[in-house]
Amino acid sequence: MIDRMISFIKKIRAKFTSTSSTGYSKRAPYLFLTPALFMITVFFFFPVVAALFMSFTDFDIYGLSDIGFVRFIGLSNYADLLNDPLFWTALKNTFYFVLVGGPLSIAVSLGAALLINSRLVRFKSFFRLMYFVPVVATLVSVAVVWRYIYHPRFGLLNFALDKIGIEPIDWLGDPVWAMPAIILLAVWKNFGFNMIIFIAGLQNIPEELYEAARIDGANAVSQFKSITLPMLAPTMLFVGIITMIGYFQLFAEPYVMTQGGPVNSTLSIVLYMYQEGFRWWNMGYSASLAFVLFLIIFIGTLIQLRVQKRGYEG
């Protein structure tokens, strides 16, 4: 065994060192690439294709025990999705989270970035670090913590709201408030990340532009509108796309805090996919959910690219 390993290593070393006339080994780049390409092909690209095939089959718990039970059923899974009220609920909830939570997160990030980037502020890196702490924290841990913060009787949030005269809310027990509660957690957890990117974008705007505007008598609001926002457009596009992609994959927050409830008001696409695939082993159906998610993210990215491009030109 060891002999074979040694001769194998020798062979590889010989391949690395065999040089062509120019002194460059022809094989070297391929050898350097092999491990990464092997892993990515076998454990990423192949499963993507396999998942597509799976979504055209009735792969379920019987298929898991014997692949012979799996039948090709064409687009039936996708047709079933369209008639599945839970799918529509999950879709609606996920869009709610993305369309409300996404812009809210980005707005808070931009606000924090503008604050820290202000010329009047010192200790910039200290504040930046403090705002970044939730980004690093393990999501499951903070979801656990926020479950208690949202406690209807002993929670900190209702206590704080009581101080300003707002009646207690059963955050995670009321179908109306459960998703806003998850959005609030997500904004708190994530704003620091985009903030860093916005700070980098703000620092790339030439100071002369603001000086010229000030000489022309432009106030802070119009400077923001006519200089900061247009100059930040590429950053905004990047932030918009990565935030949207991340938010469409909502899973751990509802899994830990609400298990998708109450009355499915926080059931997300990925949570539904997980339940169908790994709890009930309806893997064919679950695969079709995964592809719908992929399609939505893909279309969402295209739309953002299109809209922002038009924004540049107009």
């Binding site: 070297a28 999501l139 860093i196 990117i197």
Partner: protein
């Protein structure tokens, strides 16, 4: 005018910092309270008596040391392997000319639009066939090579002057020697950056270990914590202690190496 402006700015900055940090401080504070002390109204922010009983319980009764070990082995393992694999691929893309290089690189980048969840069902079946369910290897496999890692490595390595590499070659160093002895030492900063990204991403990951680790003794910390939440939801103080222990290692890594982490985000965004 400027003074009022300044006071207003600082008030806003400090109150935002207070709101941002309060859940984390509260978690730490409640984890030190005696059982049941936090379930009173008004909610106490600081403990009257400090106790470490919940931390003790986690280790003696709830097998926390095992989860800590699982998380550590997986996160460190993925980090080391992915550094090696991604840096080799990044080096090939940055410093070699070969047929189909740019096409291949673009194909990999295109793969970034596919969400990982799409791969999980077939991957689970594959690992099941290979006997990797409930093993460290099973959790580690999808993280070992990443397009993002290859991209970061390549971008950084493009800045290494060719003349340096040629000089090493003239001195008789083979391809692998050049990579190992010259390129890696030159790329220390990006290695540190990618190491933090990978370590934290793997440590904090939830869905994939939840799927692969079906046996209690193989849980990672986040999976164990979510599972604990099902059984011990009423034990607020115990759950907080568990949360603190789960967050602590990543926080320490971040605090020590935050400069590299933040630079990495900026690099990814500016050049991406």
């Amino acid at each position: 005018m400027n003074r009022i402006h300044k006071i207003f700015l600082y008030a806003l900055l400090i109150s935002t910092a207070a709101i941002t940090l309060s859940p984390i401080v509260w978690m730490l504070s409640v984890s030190l309270m005696p059982a049941g002390a936090s379930s009173t109204y008004p909610p106490p922010f600081l403990p009257d008596d400090v106790t470490l009983e919940h931390y003790e319980n986690l280790f003696t009764r709830l097998n926390l040391a095992r989860y800590l070990l699982n998380s550590t082995v997986i996160a460190v393992g993925v980090t080391l392997l992915s550094l090696l694999i991604n840096s080799m691929a990044g080096y090939a893309f940055a410093k070699y000319r070969f047929r189909g290089r740019d096409k291949l690189f673009r194909l990999l980048l295109a793969g970034l639009v596919i969400p990982a969840q799409v791969t999980m069902l077939p991957l689970f079946l594959m690992l099941n066939k290979m006997g990797f369910i409930n093993t460290y290897v099973g959790v580690m496999i999808p993280g070992m090579a990443s397009v993002f890692g290859i991209f970061l490595m390549r971008q950084y390595m493009l800045s290494i002057p060719d003349s340096l590499i040629d000089a090493a070659r003239i001195d008789g160093a083979g391809d692998f020697m050049v990579y190992w002895r010259l390129v890696i030492p030159l790329c220390k900063p990006i290695f540190v950056t990618l190491a933090i990204f990978t370590f934290m991403g793997t440590w904090n990951d939830f869905l994939w270990p939840l799927i692969v680790m079906t046996d209690d003794s193989m849980y990672t910390l986040p999976v164990a914590l979510a599972n604990l939440m099902g059984e011990h939801a009423q034990d607020t103080e115990l759950m907080m202690a568990g949360s603190v222990l789960t967050i602590l290692p990543v926080m320490l890594v971040f605090m020590v190496l935050q400069k590299y982490y933040i630079q990495g985000i900026m690099m990814g965004s500016v050049k991406g």
